[in-house]
Amino acid sequence: MQELVNIFVKSIFIDNMVFAYFLGMCSYLAVSRTVKTSVGLGFAVIFVLGFTVPVNYLLQNYILGKGALSWLGPQFAGVDLSFLTFIMFIAIIAAMVQLVEMIIEKFSPTLYSSLGIFLPLIAVNCAILGGSLFMQERNYANISEAVSFGLGSGVGWFLAIVGIAAIREKIRYSNVPAPLRGLGITYIITGLMGIAFMSFMGIEL
């Protein structure tokens, strides 16, 4: 249990998707104009990361990895399909995004209409594929650790985008030099937020 909490907190603050690895920057910069839309996108990312990381974990450990197919019989023990990782992961992500979209549309039309175009966009958000690839690289011991990592990364991304959106709403009233307005100042603020997040470095729970 302690290990799970540790991974969760670590993936929110220390290994934050945006500030430590710059993943999902495209939508982070494009959708952070208002707090409302960024909250919607943030929730969608938490949702999709929480689903895709464990599914890809199962895929990695029972189909793709070296010797992962041994449950089919001893003759499969030497099979290594890891070169197919990228294409399988991205296929799973595209399919899961589609599935999540259909489920939300069926059960909560209001949430669906508020998320709107963001859901399909998530399929090409680097944070999602990045989550799965980091999961593969870090070799989590079991599926609950993968779930906790997925959710934690999602929450970290959510915090980052909501934070920057709030700052951008306020900064509209400030006197920023003209060439720095918009994109430039957003980068610099993100850098400063990243420095603030660096203070979490080295915390062990």
Binding site: F22, F83, I90, C126, Y187
Partner: protein, 219 residues
């Protein structure tokens, strides 16, 4: 607009085609103007060597992806085009990944997940959607190469600044002479840390927009 200074002078390229190649490097840069593909530009720029390898990888993937999609453009049903594009890109990235693992294993380890993340690099999808789906093969190829070069140039610029100020080296070779250290010069360790990549890019955008006023964000 006059031709950019970076334009290669090849007879094969008509002025229009040359513009395709040169615009993304200058006033239509994918990173500083179109805001595409910023995800990976930041994380791998601690060292020049890794960024150089990634830039070459992106040029290769983008050039070929644009050609393939442009060849297939009449056969792709619009409803499933995103899946088709992702499949093409993912296959190309697998090729690049295997080549990197085979020939430059240490750099491949250093890039870790960022080779795989070329798949979701928005610049590739963006150019496929915006250009290759509507245009002939040769201009699409140039568009791909041009945009990847624009991406790569920022990548390499940021990496050079960070490596020079952060560790005093370029491509792993010491550049700052020893006597500078002896009289008290100290490497700025902060430059190696992730947030400084963002600030460096922010400053590059600032300079870029200051020189070309038409790019200033009015909103």
């Amino acid at each position: 607009m006059s031709e950019n200074a970076n334009t290669p002078k090849e007879a094969l390229l008509s002025p229009k085609n040359r513009k395709l190649l040169s615009d993304p490097i200058g006033k239509d840069n994918p990173i500083t103007v179109q805001v595409l593909g910023v995800c990976s530009v930041l994380a791998v720029t601690v060292q020049l060597k890794a960024s150089l390898v990634l830039a070459i990888a992106v040029v290769a993937v983008m050039g070929f992806a644009n050609v393939i999609i442009s060849l297939l453009r009449h056969g792709i049903p619009p409803r499933i085009r995103i899946i088709v594009q992702l499949t093409v890109i993912a296959s190309l990235v697998i090729l690049v990944d295997q080549v990197l693992k085979a020939f430059v294993y240490d750099v491949s380890r250093q890039l870790s997940v960022f080779v795989g993340l070329i798949i979701t690099n928005c610049i590739i999808m963006g150019r496929l959607e915006a250009y290759a789906l509507q245009n002939k093969v040769w201009p699409s190829f140039l568009d791909g190469i041009g945009n990847a070069a624009g991406y790569g140039s920022i990548l390499i610029l940021v990496a050079a600044i960070r490596e020079l100020l952060g560790s005093g080296t370029l491509m792993g070779i010491q550049v700052i002479p020893d006597f500078m250290y002896n009289i008290g010069y100290v490497d700025n360790g902060l430059m190696i840390l992730p947030p400084m990549a963002l600030i460096t890019v922010g400053v590059i955008i600032w300079i870029h927009r200051h020189r070309d006023k038409s790019l200033v964000d009015v909103s």
